[in-house]
């Protein structure tokens, strides 16, 4: 009897678990590759998965094998010209022969290349990153429920059984039920003793002894554990406070921000955007770009639109403050902001911006990061950098850093959002 079975609808991804094991094992290689990828990619490609190369040497599985050397005879088909005794020069001069061919799984093989999917890529990408200072919380629409201990109950599942509590109850029950019996027993013992001393008749003694034994037996029959002793931990669902956060992305798109700088800034925000959308479902994002006046835009415009003009940093900060006050009343919201600029600001603008930032924005915000993208050959500090530098010295929730090359973006990004160590 032959069976014909259609298995096409059965699970396809049987190897997924093995693939995942492989990735876990070679995480270091993959992490390094991911870092390099970020530097090379354009903004639109940033989100895709990518190829990872692992040196063949590192993933080979060893075994006892013949190396080059020794005596071999090789049988091959397709002889056209050779007769017995012909001499053939050794290929590549060394003593290789077929030994070399068989040992080839080590060195001669190419690097092992494989593709990461988008999810795998992002997972590794944003490992160990966290929004800093996320502590002030506000009650949101009570979507989250948290289970909280609420004493003990008499019914429950075995996994909730509280052994100490049960033992306590059992002990109490045994003491309570055994108390009267024990008293009676004591009495009976005393009577028996007295009767023995007084020399009562054997019949009477036997009666008393029987009573003592009976009481003892009743005491031992008290169960050590009974159904009524069981106590289970009880939990109730309590609405949990949900952290709400908003992230402001501020970018300078003035004329002095040339394509290279804009590209750097956008790369940074792309990372930030991906990171936030991935980690926090409830993070709201506000995109603000500015020339000499600031605009709130959607993410597409923010990342892909080109526009230029003069520079007034102050305008952006002011807009952020307005939005903040209007929409994100500070007691309910964790406010974060990241600003990118080349630091070219004129006249009173830097000083004014700096003061505004210090006095108006920092008290509202949990964390404010400033990223400067300087000219390639710029050495001195920009005007904005100099002004902001003062804030840094006496504000704990302000950070500033410079990014000159695409390779630096990822390390800088990781630096700014490193997971806070539990002190």
């Amino acid at each position: 009897m032959n069976y014909l079975i259609d298995r096409r609808l059965n699970g396809r991804n049987r190897s997924a678990v093995n693939r995942e094991r492989f990735i876990r094992r070679y995480k270091d290689h993959i992490r390094r590759a991911v870092k390099d990828m970020v530097a090379e990619r354009s903004i639109k490609e940033m989100v895709q998965g990518g190829d990872v190369k692992v040196p063949a040497r590192d993933i080979s599985e060893p075994g006892f094998r013949y190396g080059a050397g020794g005596d071999w005879e090789i049988v091959s088909p397709g002889n056209k010209q050779f007769v017995r005794g012909d001499k053939i020069p050794r290929p590549d001069g060394g003593a290789s022969g077929s030994g070399g061919r068989e040992a080839g799984s080590g060195q001669s093989m190419d690097d092992f290349v494989f593709s990461l999917s988008r999810d795998e890529f992002l997972n590794i990408f944003f490992e160990d990153l966290e929004l800093p200072n996320l502590m002030r919380t506000a009650m949101a629409e009570a979507e989250d429920k948290k289970l909280v201990r609420a004493g003990y109950v008499k019914d429950g599942t075995p996994c909730n059984l509280s052994v100490p509590k049960t033992m306590k109850t059992a002990l109490a029950r045994r003491v309570a039920l055994g108390g009267p019996l024990r008293e009676e027993l004591e009495q009976a013992c005393a009577e028996l003793e007295e009767a023995t001393r007084a020399g009562h008749s054997p019949a009477r003694l036997a009666l008393l002894e029987g009573r003592v034994d009976d009481l003892k037996a009743r005491l031992t029959r008290l169960p050590f554990l009974d159904d009524v002793d069981l106590r289970y931990r009880y939990r109730v669902a309590v609405p949990a406070p949900v952290a709400r956060a908003v992230m402001f992305c501020l970018m300078d798109v003035s004329a002095s921000m040339d394509e290279r700088k804009k590209d750097l800034a956008k790369r940074f925000f792309t990372l930030l955007y991906l990171f936030l959308t991935r980690k926090y479902e409830r993070v709201e994002l506000v995109f603000i770009r500015h020339t000499d006046e600031a605009q709130e835009v959607d993410e597409d415009t923010f990342f892909y639109d080109t526009q230029s003009g003069g520079t007034v940093v102050y305008s952006a900060l002011e807009l952020m403050q307005q939005i903040c006050v209007a929409r994100y009343a500070s007691s309910d919201w964790n406010v974060y902001a990241a600003q990118a600029s080349d630091g070219d600001a004129f006249g009173a603008d830097p000083a004014k911006s700096s003061r505004f930032l210090r006095e108006q924005l920092l008290p509202l915000a949990r964390y404010f990061a400033y990223i400067e993208v300087p000219d390639e050959n710029q050495t001195g500090a920009s005007s904005l950098w100099a002004e902001y530098g003062e804030i840094q010295s006496h504000s704990r929730n302000f950070a500033m850093t410079r990014v000159a090359r695409p390779q630096d973006i990822y390390p800088v990004f990781c630096d700014l959002f490193r997971k806070e160590k539990v002190a």
């Binding site: 080979s60 020794g70 088909p77 397709g78």
Partner: protein, 496 residues
């Protein structure tokens, strides 16, 4: 019987018709098979099957992930096609067919796998000795569950460590000969009474007066362990490792059992493929003779068949050594030819074969040989001429390679012997055996590599494997290389 319908697309109903026709034809030739189970799978599932060496389920391990990624990459980029079929030595014999195959291809594959390979699995002595076709699937289920349980209980890293080390020694986890079964209690009892009876019959009071042998002799004899060298290294570790816990021993056993399951397949590649190819060719031709399939079907069939049995010359593009399908098929066909139309030469070379019943002779060859002995026995001068085989000697002592023999009268026997040697296990795997376990001393383990024709081990890899071995053993491990005269030539050691 009316002709079978033919077309590019297959349907389940059509496959059943074809299967039935093939089954009837196979019965005419007296093929003895396990029951068949044909399963249609998609290309993704085929890739999954590739990664686990064709087994329908395996325990999780990163190396399978690596294999999967490698095959997947090669396939997606078009460097590699997928096999049309995978067949599993089990009862019922499971054959996986790709859904992409055309109707003709499915018929070919059913004939090849479900009747060719299947009868080979059932008949060949190596498979009969070493694999239990009806138990393998259950064992795989057990292995997978056991490994997963160990991972839960002892941690993934711990389990992976043991499996990594076992995999490095997998090729040395194979028994080449069956171990004698341990005697049952009843047999032991019977032997004891027999011995007692023997002693009683031989009783002579005189022996009482002979002084007992010196005790020292016995002590010396017992220090050497194992008494005989053990070539199944994993077996030795499982039974004697001083370090491993019970669950680790069970893991070693699982890897060992799987290695043993694959052992017959590694030893019969040429025969197995040759046999299966011979039978799909013969069965489909018979269908054609019976007018069950039409010319279009036959043309398509021959096209695929010739692709499979092409042997490229050593200097041609795409040459990857000798094609086991080509060699095996040619030899099977040749045996039939020698039986049916022997020439003078054949009568001289194969006096017993020439003129005999080809079905019986071929069946005998299938049952009682492995690649090495099969080639040594049956490769005919005609085939050596057809393949234009030649032997090149690559000796370390000589500066140049030398053509050793070609397809001429002086060369036939030597070419045949060399080709047979090519499939010998020693020729592929260095000979390494456990020779000494210092049970009463530092618990170190001594292995001996008998150097075969001056061939050294790959140095770095050998050290790596030794490290794995040490991890399983937990005490010092030494590997000595010994040349043909028994002199120790090299020495490496691993210490914890």
């Amino acid at each position: 019987m009316s002709p079978l319908p033919h077309g590019p697309e297959w349907e389940f109903e059509l496959l059943e018709h074809y299967d039935q026709a093939i089954a009837e034809t196979a019965a005419e030739f007296g093929l003895d098979t396990y029951r068949n189970q044909v399963e249609i799978i998609s290309s993704e599932q085929m890739l999954d099957a590739y990664a686990s060496s064709g087994l329908p389920l395996g325990y999780p391990h990163w190396s399978y992930g690596k294999a999967f990624i490698r095959h997947e990459q090669a396939y997606r980029r078009g460097y590699q096609g997928l096999a049309y079929e995978i067949v599993i030595n089990s009862d019922p014999c499971i054959a996986y067919l790709m859904e992409e195959n055309s109707l003709m291809m499915q018929a070919l594959v059913i004939a090849h796998a479900s009747y060719g390979h299947n009868s080979f699995f059932k008949g060949n002595y190596l498979f009969r000795q070493f694999t239990q076709a009806d138990a393998i699937l259950d064992y795989l289920v057990f292995a997978r569950r056991y490994v997963t349980e160990c991972e839960e209980r002892y941690g993934m890293a711990e389990v992976e460590e043991v499996l990594d080390s076992c995999h490095a020694l997998m090729e040395y986890g194979v028994d080449r000969y069956r171990r004698p079964q341990a005697p049952s209690a009843r047999e032991k009892e019977a032997r004891r009474t027999e011995l007692a009876e023997h002693r009683r019959l031989q009783f002579n009071d005189l022996w009482r007066t002979v002084p007992p042998a010196a005790a020292a002799d016995k002590a010396v004899a017992s220090t050497v362990f194992p008494e005989e060298p053990e070539e199944n290294i994993l077996y030795f570790i499982e039974k004697h490792s001083p370090r491993l816990g019970p669950w680790q021993r069970e893991l070693v056993r699982i890897v060992r059992k799987l290695a043993q399951y694959f052992y017959p397949q590694t030893q019969t590649k040429v025969m197995n493929e040759g046999w299966a190819t011979f039978w799909h060719y013969t069965l489909i031709n018979r269908l054609y003779d019976k007018r069950l399939v039409d010319d279009a079907f036959m043309i398509e069939f021959l096209h695929s068949h010739t692709n499979v049995v092409t042997q490229r010359g050593f200097d041609q593009e795409g040459y990857h050594g000798i094609n086991p399908y080509a060699l095996g098929f040619a030899m099977m066909q040749d045996i039939r030819r020698v039986c049916e139309q022997p020439t003078e030469e054949d009568r001289e070379w194969f006096p017993e074969l020439a003129g005999s019943d080809w079905q019986k002779s071929l069946d005998f060859a299938m049952r009682n040989f492995k690649d090495e002995s099969f080639i040594a026995q049956y490769l005919s001068p005609k085939l050596i001429r057809d393949f234009r085989l030649f032997v090149v000697a690559d000796h370390a002592s000589k500066a140049e390679l030398e053509v050793d023999s070609i397809h001429d009268d002086q060369g036939y026997r030597r070419v045949r012997r060399m080709l047979a040697e090519h499939y010998k296990r020693e020729n592929l795997l260095p000979d390494i055996q456990v020779t000494r376990y210092e049970r009463d001393g530092d618990r170190s383990l001594l292995l001996r590599n008998q150097i075969y024709r001056g061939r050294p081990l790959v140095d770095e890899e050998a050290n790596e494997v030794l490290r794995h071995l040490g991890r399983l053993w937990g005490f010092p491990v030494r590997l000595e290389a010994v040349d043909a005269e028994g002199r120790v030539d090299g020495y490496r050691e691993w210490r914890p």
